[in-house]
Symmetry: C2
Subunit: 172 residues, 2 copies
Amino acid sequence: MIFSSKAEYGVRLMIELGRQSPEQPTSLKAIADAEGLPLAYLEQVVARLRKAGLVMSARGAHGGYWLARPADDIAMHEVVQALEGAIAPMECFVHDHTERVLCSHEPDAGRGCATKLLWTRVQAGIVRSLQTTTLAELVEFSHRTNRVPATPAGAQAPVVSTTAVGAQAPAA
Amino acid sequence: MIFSSKAEYGVRLMIELGRQSPEQPTSLKAIADAEGLPLAYLEQVVARLRKAGLVMSARGAHGGYWLARPADDIAMHEVVQALEGAIAPMECFVHDHTERVLCSHEPDAGRGCATKLLWTRVQAGIVRSLQTTTLAELVEFSHRTNRVPATPAGAQAPVVSTTAVGAQAPAA
DNA sequence: GACATAACCAACCGCAGTGGTAGGATATGG
DNA sequence: CCATATCCTACCACTGCGGTTGGTTATGTC
């Protein structure tokens, strides 16, 4: 797995906040109830978003959270990074020195180590996809799809899921 | 961390095999010594590559491993998938049904869930970067950067990368 | 001022996966 | 027969993840 549930919960939380008007704060409990997530755990998640300056908060009765900036000014890269830390495909990307034999990568950005060239490309692919998606986009998407369709949505689209990427090698 | 050390070790192993001539098999021990990796653990790693049909093997004395196909015909996506399993940004991508409350994603390829839209894009970014990189590219890269001066004249290099491999075999 | 609400904070804990070891069984060349 | 080397299974210490517990502060309302 690439991202932990912190990212899933945190992104959902941000989308929820994006759906609300920024005038009045939304309590965590409301979000936890709406999404069916454990409140106490959400507290830890939202703490990361707050420390990253992505949401603001008000304590006390009728307190809660709201977006620090308009949703179309928030790239998902910021959100995911606040929740998961820096995007590192491989161990040596986070401690790129002082590491044991696992990694002989030199801190020269891909030169000198063929595997680091690969991981650098992977990282770039991830970051680009996260940079080019804004929170507003996801909020707008959730508006379209969350309205209960009275019309019978054509259940099976011709474009089938891409979730199974290729064939699974490890069989029996 | 996105990828575990299995991926790092496995990719290095594949690069090593790509550097060798495919006529004669290379023993795991030679690779383990060259890269400074635990032999017993490498066995588990290479087993995955073998089961995926990426390398072939010969048992017994003078046995070893070699690439099943030419290096320019092996996309790194195949290698990484054999080592790490399917690329799944989020839990629900691997068990996209029968899952608990964590994920309310419906199996409809991104429709109905804004977060899944995001994860699908991330997955696509990763897969694209892995698909467009071939093993031959990494092998060629390692040739350029790992080129050890054939003349031992100025052989005073203090800490030459531990990835200095094949050139270190005049003893045989 | 009491009280409910709700953000904030710091431990703690079970569980599963990672990284690696141990010890062998099997096949092959000399 | 023996050294080499693949192949296979079980085992284990450690870490991080997902989550809970139990508070403390701060703030609106009655």
